[in-house]
């Protein structure tokens, strides 16, 4: 599903952090072009 797709991974402090999303996406064959974790508090 994600193989050879370019991915922007946006994480959230009280949800899933950006680096973890990126790790999953890369394991699924995607290219993570940008990842960041945001905090809204």
């Amino acid at each position: 599903m994600f193989k050879d797709k370019k991915v922007i991974a946006l994480g959230e402090r009280d949800g899933v952090p950006g680096p973890l999303i990126a790790e999953c996406m890369e394991a699924a064959g995607a290219e993570v072009v940008f990842q960041k974790t945001e905090c809204f508090v």
Partner: protein, 473 residues
């Protein structure tokens, strides 16, 4: 010696005319000009509405957190009738009483107020009044002098009820750490922190000279260009509150700092270094109006119009309160994952397991208690509920509760968020006033404070952080 939590105080400062200096609003005004400023002004609440706002009444102790669950929503549309600005462990200060505290906090001629425009006809609070023992916070300045500084670009205006009443000036023309808005941010943290400490001392009839040590968990980076964030706001706050015999230091750990500060204070008492300590946190001006653009777009009031502050008194007299149990203090080690599950395991499961306890053994968990009515319209989620769901899910995974018990677990071990979105202020600790009342009444035995910090915001690491500790009878 056993560290004991003797007292807690929570304060709020209604600061509608400082919202424009919050980081987000300041940038919006810079890019959109007066059109955003007008929209902002049109959505600002009155002091009376801020006092009657149900979450604010919970914050100062006039209502229990659980009362919010049954209240009609939106809360801002259902003010509490005859609401008082004073509560059993907190109070709400109007802006016209806060500006003089800003001037009193300033020792360098940075804050200029025109007393003809903002006459000081007595403070709305004994705690605020105690910070200005001379009766006047400083000299009055002429409007012409105030305008001259603003027009030259050295000063930023202080307004109240649509009128210019003063200004704050920079203290160096090339040092961005001493820029007028940065200094106002730092003075707001100092003045609101001192107000929280003064409220604590007045409320508990503690002589200011008794305080031996102060730890500030405020967020502001006090310093100049060579030591941005150099700190020790603690001593500045202690001086303003008249704590002549106290030493002090700051603890910085983003939003987790208040829980770290409590652990450090309790550890100093247990080790016998000091006999008592205060933990204090002043308000964050930068976070005023953080989500105002989204509140305005949804035609809501600007709910982030209020500075928060907290103060706690710890000592070693076991007759005077519940203990801070350092044997159940959680830490998030560097090698731990920053995932929600990883945080709960590090901050809740591990310390409880070391003490032979289970998740369900703790009566109440005080997690990040951000007011959901501020968060949800901005698409930022119900932070408290998200944390309770994760905690409940971990309890299911550990076989402590069944999946179907999750709603009951959240209801009995959690609470709705009620704190202003002031970063460190919602970090579990605003519940301590309620917890002390419950423990003294015999209705609560234990609470665990669980705070998290977004270290990644400073771009030095991708990690998150957290700290936890149990307070119990």
């Amino acid at each position: 010696m056993t560290p004991v939590l003797r007292a807690a105080s929570n304060i709020l400062v209604h600061a509608p005319d400082l919202v424009r200096y919050g980081s987000k609003c300041f940038r919006e005004i810079a890019s959109q000009g007066e059109s955003f400023s007008r929209k902002l002004s049109g959505r600002i609440r009155s002091y009376e509405n801020a006092v009657a706002y149900p979450p604010n009444q919970v914050f100062i102790g006039n209502l229990p957190p659980e009362s919010l669950t049954g209240m009609p929503s939106p809360w801002h549309g259902h003010p509490i009738p005859d609401a008082s600005s004073k509560g059993p462990f907190g109070e709400i200060l109007p802006q016209e009483s806060f500006y003089p505290l800003l001037q009193r906090a300033d020792q360098f001629g940075l804050v200029m107020l025109d007393s003809d425009k903002l006459p000081l006809s007595g403070f709305a609070s004994n705690a605020a009044s105690a910070l200005v023992p001379e009766g006047a916070p400083g000299p009055s300045h002429k409007t012409a002098d105030i305008l001259r500084g603003i027009e030259s670009g050295e000063s930023i205006p202080l307004e109240h009820a649509g009128a210019l009443v003063g200004c704050v000036r920079r203290d160096h023309d090339a040092d961005e750490s001493l820029d007028a808005r940065v200094l106002l941010e730092n003075l707001a943290a100092k003045a609101s922190g001192a107000y929280a400490l003064s409220r604590l001392l007045v409320q508990e009839k503690i002589e200011s000279g008794q305080v031996e040590y102060i730890i500030s968990c405020s967020e502001e980076a006090v310093g100049d260009r060579y030591n941005r964030g150099g700190g020790n706001l603690a001593k500045a706050i202690g001086e303003m509150a008249g704590c002549q015999n106290a030493a002090g230091v700051d603890v910085k750990a983003f939003c987790a700092a208040p829980v770290y500060a409590l652990i450090h204070a309790a550890a100093l008492i247990r080790a016998g270094v000091v006999r008592n300590a205060v933990v204090v946190g002043g308000g964050s001006m930068a976070k005023l109006g953080m989500k105002a653009h989204q509140h305005i777009a949804k035609e809501l009031p600007v709910l982030e119009d209020i500075l928060g502050g907290v103060a706690f008194f710890l000592n070693s007299d076991e007759d005077e309160g519940p203990r801070v149990n350092l044997d159940i203090a959680g830490r998030h080690e560097v090698g731990r994952p920053s995932s929600p599950q990883g945080m709960v395991e590090a901050l809740v499961c591990d310390p409880l397991e070391r003490a032979g306890r289970k998740i369900c053994d703790i009566d109440k968990y005080a997690v990040e208690l951000h007011n959901p009515e501020v968060m949800l319209p901005a698409g930022a989620g119900d932070v408290a509920m998200t944390n309770y769901r994760t905690l409940a899910a971990v309890a299911v995974m550990r076989g402590e509760i069944d999946r179907g018990d999750i709603p009951d677990f959240i209801e009995s071990h959690g609470m709705p968020g009620f704190a202003p979105t002031q970063g460190h202020i919602p970090a579990g600790v605003p519940y301590l006033g309620h917890a002390l009342a419950g423990m003294r009444a015999g209705t609560l035995n234990s609470t665990m404070l669980v705070a998290k910090g977004s270290l990644f915001l400073g771009r030095m690491t991708q990690q998150a952080d957290g700290a936890s500790v149990v307070v119990e009878v």
